[in-house]
Amino acid sequence: MAILRWRPGTFGWHRDPFAEVESLHREMSRLMDSLSGAWRGVTAAGVFPALNVSEDRDNLYVRAELPGVSAKDLDISVQDDNLVIKGERRIAAESKGVSYHRREREAGTFQRIISLPTRVDGGKVTAVCKNGVLTVTLPKAAEAKPRQIAVTTG
């Protein structure tokens, strides 16, 4: 049974009865956050593959790490404002009579749909898969590029 320290007004109705519980809850969440502080960066969405999206003035870039996936195993398409990356990672079967010591790599299908923050020119999208890294370059649509407006004194 918990022993509550008696303070003036502990059982009074002018004092919020949940204040103690709330401050305990806040302490606990602060403790949990500091424990998971070993994580670097943003938590991934939990879907394979992990994506890095960046942009410059003219293009949008989407990158993914797909080791062992070659261009023919990938299916990339742009629909409206979404980029769809689909594919399959295969692991070649080895000759018979092998005995495995470790089996850490996984094979299977994957699909990721990412909504794009700006309009892109669907006809000019290019994708390169090199050394297991996929880079999709999406040129921004002309109307989405920032347009400079000249300021005149007058």
Binding site: A50, D56, V98, R102
Partner: protein, 132 residues
Amino acid sequence: MTEMELQLRGKQELKGKEQTKPGPVFVPSVDIFETEQEITLLADMPGVASDRVSIDLNEDQLTLTGDVEAQGAEKERVLLREYETGRFQRSFTVSDRIDQGKITASMSDGVLRLVLPKAEKAKPRRIEVKVG
């Protein structure tokens, strides 16, 4: 065979070992299997070109290191960053049954394939048992 959807497993960082160059170091996933002739090792190292891999065999310690070329995002504004890039490194202890002069390595689509042929005396030799 049913198709399996791949689950995301975040890249594991190598902890505890300090490198001479700063930057994150990740542990590549490997498959290791052996036949009677050789031991084969497959390591996932995306972003590593074949000339950026170094394989060191020191006594019985095999160390794989892969350097990643920058994924070109320095001048760009990052909108979403779900993974970090950095070099890959993993060490293994191999028994001295390997013929060290005949190790071959090849790199394709970010996957390193390392073949370690077993030394002659390590290949299992069947001994015939004669009745008599």
